[in-house]
Amino acid sequence: MMLATLGGKTVDDVTNMGRFSRFIWQSVVACCQSCLSTKTYPLIWTQMNIIGVRSVPVIMITGAFVGMTLAVQAYDQLAGMGLEEHLGVLINISVVKELGPVLAAVMLAGRIGGALTAELGTMKVTEQLDAVKSMGTDPVLHLVAPRILACMLLTPFLIIYADFMGVMGGFFVSVIQLGINGSAYWNFSASGVELWDVGIGVIKGFFFGAAIASLSCYKGFTCKEGAHGVGQACTEAFVASFISILAIDFALVIIFKAIYSTFWPLKSLV
């Protein structure tokens, strides 16, 4: 009995995995197609506006709070050792490398992922997806590709906003509130944070954006009947996006570290 349940579950999981892979493959093909034909550009523009432009305020608020909180938390420890001017390196490197990108992506997963799943899920439940198909249009090309492209292309830019506000927030608390010497703060920051650090944070954005959009669209497309189905799909989409953001982040950190130590073997030792 237990064996049957276990077997059934495994079969379900493998089937789901297969469906998801096929969906991803279709989406990749559709994304390439819509990049090549100018007809789909207006759709991408609309999605960019919804996904990117309207997310800027929340992303900036997220970034600012991350920077400010870090400054308040780390100040006491560093001040105890008389190293408070090093606060700049600590805050800025944490913000641009990890916290900015990851928290911005989590914020986006909540804001965009939920909306995408709910929108596509409702379309599925009210047969609008079937209607698109019945008129001879590929729903993946028409609905999924613009969303994935918009999310993938704009997440890096949103991360730049989050980074910027994180740096400003850290500066505000450290220099203006806690009275650390401003020029020392910036000098230490400049020596500690490299373009590479900012760069990998931004590059992560591509992967996070693609993961959020494709998971959310998939969950919307495979949504079950009724209001309960849509709600459940949204929850699953957010949880799946969140976990995949953390997993992708972990994988990318390892990869970037390996690349860094291959090209600049000495620097990582210093």
């Binding site: 379309m123 009210t126 047969e127 609008q128 079937d130 209607a131 198909k133 019945s134 008129m135 001879g136 249009t137 590929d138 028409h142």
Partner: protein, 276 residues
Amino acid sequence: MYDSENDDVIIVENLTKKFGENLVLDDVSLRIEEGKTTVVIGPSGCGKTVLVKHFIVLLRPTEGQVFFKNQRIDNLSEKHLNSIRTHYGFLFQEGALFDSFSVAENIMFPILQHYKNVDRKQIEEIVKTKLAMVGLDGFQNFYPANLSGGQKKRVALARAIALNPEIILYDEPTTGLDPIRSDIINEIVLKLQRELGVTTVVVTHDMKSAYKIADRIIMLHNGKIIADGDADHIRNHPHSVVQQFIHGQVGEDELAVLRASGSILQAQFLPRDFEK
């Protein structure tokens, strides 16, 4: 496989559809004649909609084959199907209008998807004609949320005929409408069939509408075809299930179930037990 002179546009052979363990269609074979109105009747949940969705391959058969103009279509890729599907118009049960688009944009959608280099003026002209056909010209800038149920279905129908289809499939066009609105839909179905010469398939459980529009009526029950013929044939059909359905009577078995569970149990509390 079939000689080219036969005028059956859609042929379904030994179609079986299962959702998991649930058998919905059981070895159904059927031919739809060109230019005729075929009505599929049957109780809710007997697989009517599932059958019609196979005609346009929105669902794929578990077993069996579907042909459109002698070409097998149930095994085609989605990409090939997209060009086949432009020969069809499908009216969904709830209309399935895109609710973020206005009425005009809804009707423009298939046109913009399939015609290249048409200018705005031409498209607006097409939208106007299609809306006039369903009697709703002037509603171009309305949004689906502001339309009544009957108007939504008519707009959806205008969208379904936007690409000048050869076959129109209607999924319960009169369900949820008052008798007058239902009759308007019936008249539109007849009008489109007369003026455009399209092949029509209507899924319904509204017998009044079925008698009015049908050249041929097919009754599905438990996934099988139990009656097939013109209106008179169905009216005088000997099968008891058919007679019960067309007269809207509950069978003895179902009545027995209702009676058994209809009494109030002695141990059950009622609101009055809590009143002082």
